[in-house]
């Protein structure tokens, strides 16, 4: 017995270090594996550097200026628009009934995988999409779809729209979590009593404090928007594609020179993201300077109603775009022949689902095994870290928060190619285990972020009472703390599962094509354009991410049906 306690004591303080290694190890290793080939050093291919050959090749690629521009514009525009909408929404509507409705609608939309949302959007707004079908020919006069470049447009506008609708729920959730720590209600009341309009008052008093809290999530959105691959493949332009897509293409070419180009491109992608973060930071300063003058000037109203109405309209549109996208996926998955401009298919059939049943089953099993193992590992590490913090006072510093966000901010396309090359050299490149490790890099931060606040907010007096009754620290954890925290635990689990389900690039690159999940299958189908197949896989992928959220809501209500105080964790 005493021996066991000693090992526990030794194990627990190690967990935070282990967590950092699990999270940052692959990132650092991957960056290292990227830098060498980027400078022409790839001994496996008989190339020894350093040389600038790869860099020269990259800059000789005629598509580079466009690809780089696209990466920058989609990332920055996505972040700015999504942030503006969320801030306008919270400023104009927080605390109202409309806000609660939207809040409830947007949260489950957060778990809809990016790829599924992108497919849905494409099926909605393409010239032959559902919107055009529903309004043709009676409203538009179109007997045939117009020859308009909407999806895959040269400027990446549709891709930006697809990213914005998915980032609004994310930023909204982050903002809601931050609001609790900003004393927003009282600040707003005081502003209102001084005669400030709802939006103006909020922007002047609360926004600076909220923004300080959500700065890192905003950076995540910026980095993600600049380097996303799956959404770009589905909605983005192709002549040329954004840089991230081109990197993945080079990774796939048989020629080793192309792999060097890919790594050089990955390094450029990283530099771009760092530069964009720098520009964003500069913009923060400018906005802060201008904002301070604006606050001091003391104007009480600045288009309050317009901003509030626009923000509500746009976020409702985003919610409808995702929900409508899912709906059109449902219709396509049951569709017989469906010509233009019919609003609905000629016939509804189960044939598509039956046809794909076996493949869907395999992919679902693979997805579930990976997601469940990775989430379980992430939960163990997270709870271990938080418990170590509780028992030994190993508190996460501000720098620690940066480390937590690092895997989310460093673009996937920057370190995954290098990681694949490294794993390949180590001979450990295929199969499920490396894919799981790669997923853990992205799942861990989200699980940690979602669990940390409720875990820390837990009333420690419960532990004191339990200890006074003779319970050991372990017993307190297992029998008191975790049961009380059931709801946040389940929410963290659901988030972990949905993050793992949605991973495209880590599964593709690290799995070497041998690990087929719902996401990789769905994106692979995108090239074939078979909408019925895409719809079934996209829906299955959505379900795999949504069902855990439903369970996370339902299970506490069921288990604590006679413990009202515990139902909301």
């Amino acid at each position: 017995m005493p021996g066991r306690i000693v090992t526990r004591r030794r194990l627990l303080p190690v967990l935070p270090a282990l967590t950092l290694v699990a999270m940052l190890g692959p990132v650092v290793a991957g960056l290292y594996g990227t830098v060498l080939p980027a400078f022409g050093h790839l001994p496996a291919a008989g190339l020894t550097g350093p040389s600038l050959e790869a860099m020269r090749g990259l800059f000789d690629w005629p598509g580079l200026p466009r690809a780089v521009t696209l990466s920058l514009t989609t990332g920055i525009t996505t972040t700015a628009i999504a942030l503006a909408i969320v801030m306008g929404l919270v400023a104009g509507w927080s605390g109202t009934a409309a806000f609660r409705v939207l809040e409830r609608a947007l949260s489950p939309l957060l778990s809809v995988p990016h790829a599924a949302a992108a497919f849905g959007l494409a099926f909605l707004i393409a010239p032959s999409g559902w919107v055009a079908r529903a309004t043709s020919p009676w409203l538009t006069g179109w007997d045939r779809p117009p020859d308009l470049l909407i999806v895959q447009d040269t400027w990446g506008l549709t891709m930006t729209a697809g990213l914005v609708i998915k980032e609004i729920p994310f930023l909204l959730l982050m903002t809601l979590a931050a609001l609790g720590q900003t004393d927003a209600v009282r600040a707003r009341t005081i502003a209102a009593s001084l005669g400030y309009g709802r939006v103006t008052g909020w922007l002047k008093c609360v926004f600076p404090r909220v923004y300080a809290q959500i700065r890192l999530p905003v950076y995540v959105v910026l980095a993600y928007g600049m380097s996303v691959v799956d959404v770009a493949v589905i909605l983005g332009p192709n002549t040329p594609p954004p840089l991230s897509v081109q990197i993945v293409r080079w990774m796939g070419e048989p020629d080793f020179a192309a792999r060097l180009l890919a790594n050089a491109g990955a390094l450029l992608q990283l530099a771009l993201v760092i530069a964009a973060l720098g520009v964003w930071r500069l913009a923060e300063r400018i906005v802060a300077w201008a904002g301070r003058r604006w606050i001091v000037a003391g104007r009480r109203f600045c288009g309050d109603r317009t901003i509030a109405a626009a923000a509500l309209g746009l976020s409702a549109t985003a919610a409808f775009a995702i929900a409508g996208g899912i709906a059109v996926l449902v219709v396509w998955s049951f569709a017989g022949f469906w010509g233009f401009p019919d609003a609905m298919p000629d016939a509804l059939t189960l044939k598509n689902w039956m046809r794909h049943a076996a493949g869907l089953g395999d992919a679902l099993t693979q997805t579930a095994v990976i997601a469940i193992s990775v989430t379980a590992a992430a939960l163990v590490l997270t709870i271990g870290c938080l418990e170590a913090e509780h028992r030994h006072g190993l508190r996460m510093t501000r720098r620690g928060m940066w480390l937590l966000y690092l895997p989310l901010i460093i673009p996937q396309t920057a370190f995954l190619p290098g990681l694949q090359t490294l794993l390949l050299n180590a001979g450990a490149d295929t199969g499920r285990a490396p894919v799981m490790l790669a997923h853990l890099v992205f799942v861990l931060p989200y699980v940690y972020l979602s669990l940390a606040d409720p875990f820390r907010a837990w009333d420690v007096r419960n532990a004191t009472v339990a200890a006074a009754l003779g319970a050991s620290p372990d017993r307190v954890l297992w029998r008191v703390r975790l049961p009380i925290l059931l709801r946040p635990l389940l929410t963290a689990t659901a988030i972990g599962l949905s993050v793992s389900v949605g991973q495209y690039l880590p599964t593709l690159l690290i799995g070497g094509g041998r690990v087929s999940t719902l996401t990789t299958e769905a994106v692979a189908l995108a090239s074939g354009g078979d909408r019925r197949a895409i719809a079934t896989y996209g829906l299955m992928q959505t379900a795999a991410a949504l069902v855990p959220f439903a369970l996370a809501l339902g299970i506490p209500a069921l288990i604590w049906r006679n413990r009202k105080g515990l139902q909301h964790g």
Binding site: A44, A45, G46, W61, P62, G63, P65, R66, P127, S128, D143, R144, P145, D147, L148, L149, V151, Q152, T154, P237, N238, T239, P240, M251, G252, E253, P254, F256, R259, A335, G336, F337, W338, G339, F340, D346, R355, H356, A358, G359, L424, N425, G427, D429, T430, G512, G513, R514, S516, E521, A524, L525, A526, S527, G528, G529, D530, R531, R532, A533
Partner: protein, 397 residues
Amino acid sequence: MKYLALLAAVAATPAWSQADPADWDAVTSAAQGQTVFWNAWGGSTTTNDFISWVAERVAEDYGVTLEHVKLTDTADAVTRVLSEKQAGTDTDGAIDMIWINGANFAAMKEADLLFGPFAEQLPNWQYVDVDGKTVQTDFTVPVEGYESPWAMAQVVFVYDSADMEPLGSMQSILDWSTANPGRFTYPQPPDFLGTTFLKQVLVDTLDDPSVLQSPATDENYDAVTAPLWDYLDALTPTLWREGRAYPATGTAMFPLIADEELDLSISFSPGAASTAIANSELPDTVRTFVLDKGTIGNASFVAIPYNSGSAEGAMVVANFLMSPEAQARAQDPDVLGYGTVLDMDKLDADQRAAFDALELGVATLSPAELGTVQAEPHPSWMTRIADDWVTRYGVAQ
């Protein structure tokens, strides 16, 4: 002769553990219980379904487990094997079989990445139409038994007969597209079918396409391809989306026809349109045509990487793919609609009956109507043309 082939096999492969293709009993017994990872393009539901069926059948008959690794691009598989070779993974690599032809085959063969020769030792090779079909050269590159054929393909143009009439040449396609802008496109090169379209333009516009049978040289490349670029400069502004976006693959164009976005498209599978009509992916007014001078045709093959740990299992699958049973199923337009590689005269009456019983499908041309099959140019043309296309039309539009 057999002894020579055997010697060649032993000499060509450092295949200490891989069974000799000529000893079929040894192959099947070694194959028992093996898992074969077949890397094949996964964007087509009908192909995927066919591969699932093959998996069931080889599991039943030979105890081989076949796993379909769905690729978006065959080049991914080539990279994989190349990386493995560079990393020294010389046994039990990730890939056991690849659906391959053309430039990818040429690259792998040249880099010694292939197991073999094995194809001509397979029992079902006896039925293959060696004289009538291009199964022993692949884009002019001699196959020499390093890949085994399983389907014949030929370029056909897919059109909606409700909207247009068949056209006889590339020039008339350009004229039609100019008169009906936005109604035609082709998959974005370097997609396989997209580059095939470019080659088809070249073959149809050149007075003497035989120059394409030898490798492209720096001296003749510009002059030979000049008519192609002139053609594309004229065609591109009349394309769907004015050539600012292209469908990713050939199958991605079928929904666009169903949507009435396109009237004309291209396919490498003469039966694919009928199959798509049967699956309610195309309207039943869709038909196909070929050009007056004929269209490009080639064979699809499967190859086995040199480092496959399940080469025997892969040979069993390759052999099964050439069986009359699998070939008849692949030709069924309700299943796949691919052309067979077999010679009907080499089959017995029962085997032939399965083929005779097939309805070709409303949109499929008969072998006579398909007309002349034009030879594939040497892969060097395709590689250079695809690269040039990307520079001219694929970036910075």
